[in-house]
């Protein structure tokens, strides 16, 4: 990522334009990208990379990636979204991703935070706690 302060500030402004009620939405991002495509910028690629970096961070912060070996009921996903939205104070949407190594249970990652309630995780913690 660049260290040019002008580009950083411009990318942050673009990210703010991509928010709708504090949430980055696909439609707003598409509008911003169309605007960038039409604009005449000298270092457009660098601006786009910086914008992508910020967007990824924000999307990761407002997304709960729920890893699970099988399917998860919609009620569980709703409960996760509501409780994490309340916990972080910002809208959190949950997406599932398959992970057979967990055996059973879930592992949720929001940004840099990881919450583990899987059998594999519990067994790993058990093994680590044995001295």
């Amino acid at each position: 990522m660049t260290r040019d302060k002008k580009i950083l500030r411009f990318a942050k402004n673009l990210v703010e334009l991509s928010r709708e009620h504090g949430v980055v939405t696909e439609s707003r991002v598409a509008e911003v990208l169309n605007g960038l495509k039409q604009a005449e910028l000298r270092r457009k690629l660098l601006v786009l990379k910086t914008y992508l970096y910020y967007i990824r961070r924000i999307v990761a912060d407002q997304t709960a990636v729920v890893a699970t070996p099988g399917a998860l009921s919609p009620e569980a996903l709703t409960a996760i979204e509501s409780s994490f939205t309340q916990l972080y104070g910002r809208p959190i949407s949950a997406v599932t991703t398959p992970d057979a190594s967990l055996i059973a249970g879930v592992r949720i990652r929001v940004g840099d935070d990881v919450y583990d309630a899987s059998i594999a995780g519990r067994l790993k913690r058990f093994a680590e706690n044995v001295h």
Partner: protein, 203 residues
């Protein structure tokens, strides 16, 4: 020296005594004549006698000043030297006795010092032996303690390794068994329950 001087003096006075005694012998006047006859036969006359006396006095004086007096002086000096030598010898003897006494005293003192030093050395060696013995005992005890601690540490490490290995085996076995034995429905049920548990704990 004084005896020689007195003998000479008496020798000088003898003729005078004879002269002085002659007039007093009035009672034996007869014998005077005999004496005068004898003296006449022997040629003893007053002038000769006086001349001999003067001659004797001169010879005695010369002898006294040139022979007796130096000899007497030499004798006095010799006597003084002998006396000095004897006194010196006496002083030397006294000093020798004193030195002998001091030597004996010093030898005695040295013997006492040697005895004292020997006893001190014995005491010190005894203390040193005790000290070294205690140090050796403490050192041996420390070595034993360290060895015991090392053994205990090693035992603990081995136990920990065994526990970890057992836990690893248990986890691996459990993971394999659960992966094989749990059905999809069981997994979903467990996952739903875990998700709800996480959601409730997060809120």
């Amino acid at each position: 020296m004084k005896a020689i001087s007195i003998a000479l003096f008496l020798g000088m006075l003898l003729p005078l005594g004879l002269l002085a005694a002659a007039p007093e012998a009035t009672e034996v006047a007869a014998e005077v004549g005999k004496l005068e006859a004898i003296t006449g036969k022997f040629g003893v006359t007053w002038p000769t006698l006086i001349a001999q006396m003067i001659n004797f006095c001169l010879v005695a004086t010369v002898l006294y000043f040139f022979a007796v007096k130096p000899v007497a002086k030499t004798l006095d000096e010799r006597q003084q030297k002998i006396a000095d030598g004897l006194q010196y010898a006496e002083e030397m003897k006294t000093q020798l006795a004193e030195a002998e006494r001091e030597r004996a005293a010093k030898i005695k003192e040295a013997a006492q010092d040697a005895q004292r030093i020997l006893s001190e050395a014995r005491e010190q060696s005894k203390e040193m032996i005790e000290h070294k013995t205690q140090e050796a005992a403490a050192h041996a005890e420390a070595i034993i303690r360290k060895a015991s601690e090392a053994t205990e540490l090693e035992r603990q490490q081995m136990l920990s390794d065994v526990r970890k290995e057992v836990a690893r085996l248990v986890v691996a076995t459990t993971s394999t068994v659960l992966s094989r034995e749990l059905s999809d429905a069981d997994k979903q049920t467990f996952s739903d329950a875990a998700a709800k548990e996480l959601a409730s704990s997060a809120s």
